[in-house]
Every structure is written in C-alpha cells, then in structure tokens.
Symmetry: C2
Subunit: 216 residues, 2 copies
C-alpha cells in the first residue's frame, strides 16, 4: 500500500521514513475513525504506530498537519475509485438500471472499505472550510457524473421530464446510501435488509420514478 504524495508533502530521505509515515497515517486514520479526531491524542497515534511521539513530530509538524495528511490520502483514494467508475466506455451498451445498480454497490463498498471516512470528514468539516469544500466537491462531481451518464439513456424513460426525473433519482440514491451507512442517527427500515435486497428495492423505486419497464 503506497501512499500517494499530496499537499502535505512527504519529507523522508531514508527508506524507513516511508514505512514510519505510512504506519502513522494508518494508525491515525483508524483512531480518528474509531474515537474521533479530538478524542485521539497524538500519543495514542504514535503508540498504535509503534513509534515514539518524537518520531511522529519529526514527520508531521503539528497535529493539524497530520489530520490533513490523513484526509488527503482518503480523498485521493476515493477520487481514484470515482474516476474508475466514470471511465469512458465503462458502461457502454448497458441500460440505465445497470448503471444505477453499479452506483449503489460502488458507493456502499466505498464507505464500507473506509470506516472512518464519513466520521473524519464530518468532524473536520465542522472546523475547516477547505476540507468541507473538498468533500462537497467530491460529492458534487459524483452526482454530476451520475446525472449526465443517466441522461444519455433517456430514451429508456417514460418520464415526461427526464432531467427532473434523473435529478431526483440521483439525490435519492445518494441520500439513501448515506442513511444506510450512517446507521447511528438515520435508521431506516431498508437498513435491515442485506445490501443486495436493498439495491433491488431501490432499483424498483428508480424504475417507478423514471417509468422504465424492468425487464432484465
């Protein structure tokens, strides 16, 4: 697992620097996700990374910088997955409902594989305007991508106003996945279903809204 270089700037001159920095970033991401950023001390992070506090500060000048390094790494990873999803030709010849299914599975998996992502983003967004706008940008681009991709399949829809229909469907998918992943405060009945049954139920609703004949 190599870490992409980002704003914070990797500063190692020896091979072990990379190892230590990765260990620290991994430990920080875990702990921030489990307990929250504020509740995690830099000493906690150093301990889980099996390094001393002095070593940690040799690589990251402040706690704030460490937090940003963790966030940068998270965002870079997610952006890569999103780019992959919207790669040209990826959905060639597939109907709208396949795209929606891929989107639902993808966004569910994305949050599952990064347990701390939501929590860290939320906590940091409360104080840091730049992180907030980066998180928003990520969501924005994802939504835009999904909408324009679906609109290329508008001939499949019976809905009189495809643009409005697609906008609603995209929002609904985003909101429902968010509610499903963030089970703490927004419990829904669909949360009790397995991922696959959840996706199936959503596809039925999407078909009803866009007025697609579900045939597959």
């Amino acid at each position: 697992m190599t870490t992409p270089e980002s704003r914070w700037g990797r500063r190692g001159h020896q091979a072990r620097s990379v190892v230590t920095q990765d260990l620290i970033l991994d430990a920080a991401e875990e702990l921030f996700g489990e307990r929250g950023i504020d509740a995690t001390s830099v000493v906690d992070v150093a301990e889980r990374a099996d390094r001393s506090i002095g070593s940690l500060y040799h690589h990251f000048d402040t706690k704030e910088l460490l937090v940003h390094a963790v966030v940068d790494r998270l965002i870079d990873g997610i952006q890569t997955e999103i780019d992959d999803f919207f790669a040209p030709n990826r959905w060639e010849g597939r109907p709208a409902l396949h795209i929606v299914r891929g989107y639902l599975r993808g966004t569910l998996g994305l949050d599952r594989s990064r347990p701390g992502y939501k929590r860290i983003g939320r906590e940091l967004s409360m104080m840091d305007a730049e992180t907030l706008s980066r998180y928003r940008g990520l969501r924005q681009r994802t939504g835009d991508g999904l909408r324009s991709l679906l609109l290329t399949r508008k001939d499949e829809f019976g809905h009189p106003d495809p643009k409005t229909g697609v906008r609603l469907v995209a929002d609904m998918c985003t909101a429902m996945v968010a509610a499903r992943v963030d089970r703490d405060t927004t419990p829904t009945q669909l949360s009790r279903l397995s991922d696959e049954k959840f996706v199936t139920a959503m596809l039925e609703a999407v078909a009803a809204i866009l007025q697609i004949d579900p045939e597959d």
Copy 2:
C-alpha cells in the same frame, strides 16, 4: 420557556436556581451545537450564561451530566412535537399525500428550530450507547407512526404491495430530509430548491412510487 424535569433532576431550592439552570442549558445547547461538545469547555458555557464556573458546578456535578441534561431537554421537546403530529383525529379525512406533506414540513421545521440537535446527538452517540438508543428510538417511533398512518390510506394506492411501497416511501422521506438538513456532507441537487419546491418534488416521487393519481 420552562424546562421539563428529566432524568438529571432539577435541584434548585431558590427561585434563581431555575433561571440559572435554564441559562446554562441554553448556553450549553448553543455552544455544543456551534463548536461541538468536546471543543466547548465548561468555562465557555459558564461565560455565555453569565455565571461563574463555580456556580455551574453547583448545579451540574460533571460536564457529562450537563451534556445529558441538554440532550434530555432536546429529546423531550422533539417527542412532544412528534406526539402532536400523530395525535388521534389529526389527519382525519385527509389523503395520504397530505400526510406526507405534513411529515416533510414537520421534520424540516424540527431540525431548523433546533440547530444543534443533529450535531449534539451525533457526537454524543459516538460515545454514549444510551443516548444512541434514545435517538434511534425517536426515529424508530416516528417511522413506525408514519408507516401505519399511511397504510390506513392504502385504498388510494395502485401499488400492488402497499406495505413495501409505504416502507420505501417512509425511508425515502427520512433520508432525503436528513440529507437536506445535513448539507455539510451530503449535498443534493434538491438542496438548492426552496423548502416548498423540495416538498413538491418529493410528493411527485411519492405519488409515482405508490401509484396515486395526484389530483389536489
């Protein structure tokens, strides 16, 4: 604004106790909502309430107890509004879409009038299992109430399986309102619309899913 007595127990023996306790609870609710619980010191709270730290500790033994007092007051207030919404005869003679409209407007207003509610609940739920289950219970009862209320109107639906349809619709309303209120991390296109237009768009989707003729 009288505060309902809750678990934490009001302990005043003089008239000014009530005033001070209310001032402290108001200040705490504001600050916890603005900056978060962790980032707010008890001295901050005392200052905004125009009382000394000694006075604060005379009324609330620990910061944890103060936090719980704030949460209790929030939950009690919300429960009251929910009871009001589901009061018998409240929706007599009104069609399903009116109920959904009332629900959407109500839940939107509920979060708007208590800016800190979501944030406080989320932060506290991360560490305190009891608060988590109380928040969940609130949402659970609301969802149950909405579903059973809507099911009494099932003759209006063309949907072949009203129970499934209603479950989906209730979840969708909850998730979409949550996404709209929590604009930080879950931006949606519908967030750009006014509350009224958002409600209208939602009602169209609900009508499509349940297969209701929108006539009103």
